[in-house]
């Protein structure tokens, strides 16, 4: 698939947009959104938009064969599998640990037998 020559104007516009977004991400980094996660969300949203601009225009994805869209998209899938599965482990460890040492909420009695009183075995 022959891709067309992209007008200079398009490249310059994308560059300008990237500059604006860079300024924006620095600016919003100094604003407190009340929760740290919100700041991260805003910063990552801007970064993803910037990356998309580079991918679609500078890297010519817009003008490329669909197979390249599939390949580019697949990298996101593999990345999400790696990050997602790893975090389900790290982020659940504390919770699982706490469940092992506590009565399960759906039972009436203690889940783990308490050791017998030392006095009972003293005879």
């Amino acid at each position: 698939m022959e891709h067309p020559v992209v007008p200079v104007k398009t490249y310059v516009s994308v560059f300008a947009a990237l500059m604006v977004l860079t300024a924006l991400t620095v600016y919003v980094a100094f604003i407190d959104f009340g929760h740290g996660l919100l700041n991260d969300l805003v910063a990552m949203t801007i970064a993803v938009i910037k990356a998309m601009l580079v991918l679609v225009i500078f890297m010519h994805l817009k003008y490329s064969a669909r197979i390249l869209w599939l390949i580019a998209g697949s990298s996101v899938v593999w990345l999400m599998v790696m990050i997602g599965l790893t975090l389900t482990d790290y982020r659940s460890r504390e919770w699982i640990e706490s469940q092992l040492h506590r009565a399960a909420p759906w039972t009436s009695g203690p889940a783990i037998e308490q050791p017998a009183e030392p006095a009972a075995s003293g005879h």
């Binding site: 022959e2 992209v6 620095v26 064969a65 390249l68 593999w78 790696m82």
Partner: protein, 221 residues
Amino acid sequence: MSDSRPHYLAHHFDHLEQQKQSATLGIWLFLITEVMFFGGLFLGYIVYRGLYPEAWHLGSGKLDITLGAINTVVLIFSSLTMAMAVRSAQVGSRKGCAHYLMATIILGSTFLGIKAIEYGHKFFPGPDSHYYLVPGAKFHLESPVADQVQIFFSFYFTMTGMHAIHMIIGIGILLWLYVKALKGNYHEHYYNPVEVTGLYWHFVDIVWIFLFPLLYLIGRH
């Protein structure tokens, strides 16, 4: 069989279009492996930041946000000149292609120069307020979580260092392309090497687009 094949069409391809598609497909597959490579570093960053949020906050605050932002601008500008180098070849401007390649080389080197200054601040702390921030026996920071901040700086040096190595390799390839471009090797019928190097260069730019906020901008609010 009399051969009317252009010399820039490799013998194992039927035609130029096939050659071009193969080259593009190949570099994209390589870039996927690069995504996973840097992805591993980002994953480590996420896990440890989850464990030591305070230290990440503190460590990030020790980085020079001005130099980081200037470098972001420089690198994105180099992506523009790279895209223009490809475009020049596409429209048959052999000189333009060489000039834009040189512009990209200069901007890439500028990025590395600024990066070196930043590293210098960590390796050779000044007399006033700077701490020695290179992980290891001499790491020095007055903080109860200094050990954890050291882990942040391990990530900082590994991630920016791997990024810088990618740029050094990229500049090496660009220099080679520049010499070829000066000879007029790239034109509207054949510019695969420029296009493919461009894709690699833009990818390295994207890595920085994520590194900049994650390293320099967290915990500024």
